[in-house]
Symmetry: C2
Subunit: 146 residues, 2 copies
DNA sequence: TACTAAATAGGAATAATTCTTATATGAGAA
DNA sequence: TTCTCATATAAGAATTATTCCTATTTAGTA
């Protein structure tokens, strides 16, 4: 995605186009494994060494409000961010803290049918996310982030 | 659960029985809504005003290692703890940050069958947790914690 | 170009959690 | 019971992710 495409994403969400926002958006698209604020900082600092950390948090919060990204939580202490907004679930590798997106329409259909049938009293379901915990067979240390 | 029953839980997990651990265990069993460390501190301080906060974190970490409790995170900022270790999922109320346990054997069976059939390449599933996001119809402000 | 609301930089403040170290204690051994 | 020692705790300092504050800058519009 080039600059004007990134800028378009912002414009379409009624956000002013700033170099900082474009840089953070680019970082979110480039970084795999659901980066935390620090990983995003590292990435954007390559080209924008003066971009303030507080600004990154501001931008991430703004993106969340506009539903451009989503927060992902693990057992650890910091927030991580996910730019993929198509329906998906998460694989959590317990050994390397890698998080991978898991897409499965059949599963989604199964869940949707199930909860249409079996309602939860007094509760309106807006979203269902599966946390699938486990570990990779071909555990690849390259994936390790910490 | 009385003192000796609580102590038994610790003994069965090869943990020394200390008043602090018993107090934290009691707090975890008494407090609903997946307390955070602060709520546990408040509870145990009624009877053990000198119990150090660091000790509470130590104990919670020990309990996690022994699988007596489990960590749960929301979009908010602190860790919360769940003593219910029977298979269950979580309802997250987006309006009041209440977390409720959701038990459904039929659902568990459905998921188990599904993933037995449809394996994920190179990934060993150890656990599956549904995060069911939404809000209560009869939204009760009493449930609000923050 | 000028204007204005919004965004950012920079750094201080906050607060949940972790770390450190001296002291205390539970549980088994004698 | 008393002794012993590995382990647990208290107390508070340290860490650190995130938020807050405010002066300055800037994007978008007229």
């Amino acid at each position: 995605m080039n600059y004007s495409e990134l800028a378009n994403v912002l414009t379409q969400n009624n956000l002013k186009v700033t170099p900082q926002r474009v840089a953070v958006l680019e970082a979110l698209m480039s970084l795999k494994d659901h980066p935390n604020a620090d990983a995003i900082k590292e990435f954007v600092h390559k080209n924008h060494p003066n971009l303030a950390v507080g600004t990154i948090y501001n931008i991430l919060e703004t993106f969340c409000e506009k539903k451009i990204i989503r927060k992902v939580k693990t057992d650890r202490d910091f927030m991580r961010y996910d730019i993929e907004m198509h329906r998906h679930h998460h694989l959590y590798c317990e050994e390397c803290d890698y998080i991978e997106n898991y897409y499965d329409e059949e599963l989604d259909k199964l869940l949707q049918e199930y909860f249409n049938r079996k309602k939860i009293p007094n509760f309106n379901i807006k979203d269902i996310n599966l946390q699938i915990l486990g570990n990779y067979n071909d555990h690849n240390p390259i994936k390790k982030k910490y």
